[in-house]
Assembly symmetry: C2
Homo-oligomer: 396 residues x 2
């Protein structure tokens, strides 16, 4: 029996590729500093657990397919505060940002269609796109330019009659780069002129370190029919395991199509939506504190990288990732060596090789994503280990 050509085009997560080598290293007594995972270590606000504990019902029934009212109210309230109110029906509760994205792609993409995505990009986009039968056409960027891509001359030549949408992550994963309002307008204008959807994954919106609040693609009125926003409580409230997200658009036609899928899968988990609704009641001081913490770590990780001769990296403005070009031949080989051969005082470090974030073969081979989700002092040591590792690796 054969499998679908779509699933055969997909790959197992490259982020998990080194797990067995890490396990072996730990078995040898080596302590590993994980800079490879995007799992925040910030505590989940008690509001989530309290709401879940206080929820009581004799029968845990299906939630409405479009979402639990309290959760929808909370998301609508959040966007009102953001200055971007969305009409009822413009928000659908989803099983994390992941489901919101896959629903959006299913509604838009046919076999053979093309989806523009700046590379490097979040690796799982490749799977969600492949399952629709569409192709990802990467918008090229470079570490030297800080992975910026929002330029007409870079994007327009890639658009053809099969192009349906531009998928962006802003703030960026893995790059950490944040689009300026002017750059966002370029994307919005191109989308309107060429009749494309802009799918804007803004799950890291609250994590920007430039001082001012980040703009949302929802802000461009002329592009209201083009813009689809992917949102989630996972990173915003450090609640990845809740699997509660949202699909947001002012294109009522698109939302009507999306509702078909939401009804077919019945609903997102009832209890988690109740907890997620409560998360939105935390005050601005929560975001301020978390932002400050991540900004300190960003500065620490960036300073640590800059101390390594030959590293190419522009200081990122958002999310909790850095993408850097390292002074080594191949990050895959380097990571394996770091786990099998290297250790300093019984410690080593893990990062994510860059190649997996690119659709273009051969790109990113000497790049790496660093997730700065460790406390200050451990992060300092992790960056020191990376520096020592690179030096030893190149001398071997």
């Amino acid at each position: 029996m054969k499998f679908s050509s779509k699933i055969l085009k997909c790959e197992l997560s490259p982020i998990r590729k080194f797990a067995p080598y890490a396990a072996a290293a730990r078995a040898r007594g080596i302590a590993i500093y994980p800079l490879n995972i995007g799992q925040p270590d910030i505590a989940t606000p008690n509001e989530y657990f309290d709401a879940v504990k206080n929820f009581s019902t004799p029968v845990l029934g299906y939630a409405p397919s479009d979402g639990v009212p309290e959760y929808l109210d909370a998301v609508h309230g959040y966007y009102e505060k953001l200055g971007q109110p969305v009409d009822r029906g413009g928000v659908l509760a989803t099983e994390g940002g992941s489901e919101a994205l896959s629903i959006a792609l299913e509604c838009i993409l046919d076999e053979g269609d093309e989806l523009l995505v700046p590379e490097p990009f979040y690796t799982n986009y490749a799977t969600f796109a492949a399952l629709t039968g569409a192709e990802i056409r990467p918008i090229p960027t470079t570490p030297e330019e800080g992975f910026r891509y929002a330029e007409r001359e870079r994007i327009e030549p890639l658009i053809n009659e099969r192009t349906r949408a531009i998928l962006i992550t802003n703030p960026g994963n893995p790059t950490g780069s944040v689009l300026t309002r002017a750059e966002m307008r370029v994307i919005a204008d191109i989308a309107v002129e060429r009749g494309l959807f802009v799918i804007s994954d803004e799950v890291y919106r609250e994590f920007t370190y430039g001082g001012e609040a980040m703009a949302s693609m929802l802000e461009f009125e002329h592009a209201h029919d083009n813009v689809v926003v992917i949102d989630s409580v996972s990173k915003r409230f450090s609640a990845c395991g809740a699997r509660v997200g949202a699909l947001i658009s002012r294109n009522s036609g698109l939302m009507k199509q999306a509702l078909k899928i939401c009804q077919a899968r019945l609903c997102a988990a009832t209890l988690d939506q109740v907890g997620a609704a409560a998360l939105y009641s935390v005050g601005p001081e929560y975001f301020a504190a978390v932002r400050e913490e991540y900004q300190r770590r960003r500065d620490t990780a960036y300073a640590g990288l800059m101390r390594i001769p030959g590293v190419v990296c522009r200081r990122p403005e958002g999310a909790f990732y850095l993408m850097a070009k390292l002074p080594i031949d191949n990050t895959d080989t380097f990571q394996q060596w770091m786990l099998e051969e290297f250790s300093d005082r019984g410690e080593t470090v893990m990062l994510t090789p860059g190649e997996g974030f690119y659709a273009t073969p051969g790109k990113g081979v000497n790049e790496a994503r660093i997730a700065y989700v460790l406390e200050q002092d451990r992060l300092e040591r992790a960056m020191e280990l990376l520096a020592l590792g690179i030096e030893a690796y190149n001398k071997r």
Copy 2:
């Protein structure tokens, strides 16, 4: 901007079509007996809520993509007790049976492929199939034959070079019919001979009223590579809102493909998996009590139907549904009339018109699905209202 041809082939849930008419009726003070929804009214075991309340962690992190260990252990344990142990890796935790099914179809079906499904079938299968680009080829059944379909002469002529799988629901939704072991063997044999997958949706397994435990498609050793089982805690433990299910197969190649999708969507909700694991600790007395309750209702609903002249229905052996041919011209028209024109002592009844369960145009127009998820006395009254309604409708 256009939408994908796949999503345009999908429809909004026909089960929800009459919601606005029902709301209007309620606004006029009419009480409605709902026989239209598959939402059990049996209490969710406290084990779920206790486990959730006792769960404590500073950071609600991602669960493993294949599932929370306690939940996987619970499902493995359940299948061992069933006499069908499955190796590690043969069970993947999913967001309800819905996600398990859509993952299975994504792994198997390409654009233009064909999926055999006995009709009438669970309406959402159509959406999940359409999103893969494949076509459903219905296996015809009739109310007169009790919707039985597991016969070579009925199935084999429908198989061609594009046929990839047979999707069955056993016990059946909407029919309530349960395959005999001999019938299941026919399906297994055909699948093995023709190199097809058998996707067996067995979420109603515990609800059979023939006395003996239902067989699972997992029992046929020669078909181990062909069989994929869809499972869920939703109906089994009256926990539909937990959205926790499982994809189960001994075909390790298929499970490896499925894991790609599980990794891409990161994980199913952590807390709900913890609760679901606890649900599996309830004893056999729980199932016995629930089974007895549903059997009483099945008998009540069936007896009520049999009192209506001209109704065609074989007594169903499982799940909590009846599918019947009614002595009326069109169930859609009838349902709307029941909500807009009819009432007896300020009460009326809702059922689900049959047409939506068929892929073949025009089939099921005078059929209806009745979900017997009401307590005994209310169910009695609901069936009485149905009888009175049919009589008045045909006299109008």
